[in-house]
Amino acid sequence: MPKCTVNGIEVEVKDGATVIEAFMKTNESIAHYCWHPGLSVAGVCRMCMVEIEGNPRLQIACNTPVQDGMVVYNNSEKVKEAVEWTLKFHLINHPLDCPICDQAGECGLQEYYMSHGSYDSEMAERKVKKHKVVDLGEKVVLDTERCILCSRCVRFTDEVTKTNELGIFNRGDRSEIGTFENRPLNNKYSLNTVDICPVGALTSKDFRFRQRVWFLKSFETICQGCSAGCNVQAYYNENGFYRVKPVPNEEVNGHWMCDEGRDVYKFANKEHRLVSGIKKEDSGLSHMAPGAAAVQLREDLSDTKKAALVLTGQYTTEEYLKFVDSFTKNYGNEVYHWINNPKTFDDFDGILLRGDKNPNTVGLLRVLEGKGIKSSWADLEEKLNSGQIEHLVVAGPENLAVFPDLEEKVTLFGQAQKLTVLTPVKSKFYESADYQIPMKSFMEKDGTFVNHKGIEQKLGRGPIVVSQALTLLDLSMILDGSDFISVNSASMGGSL
């Protein structure tokens, strides 16, 4: 474990660590573009210049291993001038696209220009023109003029996905990143290239032009898309959620997340959400406040002899604990686990993507085990077919896209005399249900997801989209007899 001094701060690093890692550890700022903790070292942007005591030449921090007793600093005039000049070199051929560039506001060039540059350009010559708005398939748009050739994206497709779509073609200042013959960049992790691009060369088609980043706020939470449980940052403003990006967590997702997971913000937005409680009556569907619908459900259930509960792995552990407890206490031990895609449930693509498309299957199984509930899906089917279930309560999924069997299953559930669907999102398949009660999405609540490895991770609560929607905790309180809705939902947290 060598020790070194970074800008006067002593720090101990792992064997073989580089100087830039020492900087990261001390939280001393160091400009860098090409270095990324999840990729190999390229050493090409030349921004991370440091002065090492006893070495007259400036060195790059990303490829210099720390030696015991090394004294390194990057706050000397010599380093500052070098970094400013390297930034100048980056910028001389960079187009003035900031007004139309999606990266503006979170762009490495803008950032370092403000912190290390602030000079007047001396470039009086023509800039090099390259290709703009290159369509790289369904997800990514490329602008080679904005590219600073840090090669992060190329290393990503070479090292992480190993799909090798991207390359740097030509040489010198004619170099351009791209795919061979502009073929699509359609691997399952392609949007990570957009995240790691320090400039606006790669932009996401989904997010493109929809919002300027400085209008967005963000919070950290856990991806709901599958059992991997990737840590993500969700971005929103008063109009809803706009995107999610991965947050590094070495234990869970490293630095990446899949493209599927990038869509999980969509169903949390208002246009997809169920906003009021719906009760089917002879006269038609009657809309009411969710709490009122829940109270009516309680009354309805109290007459029932045979009620059953179906749970999906899309709710938090806390909700399962309380709700299963209330339900079994009040209506008996009929609790079933709905597995959406049994055939591909155990799949794994070797990087992140899991076949189990529920964020908290392990949490659910732990709760059921803890309660001593052993049930099989076949039992439920048999009971439904034979009409043994009077009232079936289904805690339905949020992410309908990963439930290919939704229609089929809802038809099956319809065989119960009465069907209640608890759901955050609207679906036409639910229209036949007797009760539809709106639930909060994972973006709007606290709680725990347990990923496939059994790692418990806390959700970070974001803004409330549908303030009147319930959580299973609220619902269990109502089932237990309370007519008040807990403080958990509407009264806390900012509303959109």
């Binding site: 090798n164 779509e165 991207l166 390359g167 740097i168 073609f169 030509n170 040489r171 795919t179 061979f180 013959e181």
Partner: protein, 157 residues
Amino acid sequence: MFELSPEGKELVKKELARYEDKYSAIIPSLYQIQKENEGWVSPEAVDHLSELTGIPHSHINEVLKFYTMFNLKPTGKYHIQVCCNITCSMFQARELTDDLCQKLGIKEGEVSEDGRFTVSRVECLGSCDNAPAVQVNETYHDNMTPEKMDTLISELK
């Protein structure tokens, strides 16, 4: 669709086995493609080579576009490459190129109408003692003058 001749494929196979790393076969294979494909490497040819060797096409494309001796456009039967680097340009190589282009009625990099000539400026050919140096396909011609160039052109016709 471009496809290598059987001999060409054989050569690629041999090159793949010749070096410790199969990637080393890219450059010799591209030379072979260029030879068989009217003096240039087309995108289809890159695809073909990628299929043949199992090397990602983006990688082959990177190599192809990095090295100046691979042409990305069709070239004439005789590729006249005039060195315009320091010593040669001291001895009027640039004027010689302009002159030549004018005579053939083409711009640099273009193919003459009869499909025989392409003229391009290249960097040092390593024949500075005989400046200006000109390379036609793989043959060097030294101490070029406009007159010698005329003779050369007429001989190549």
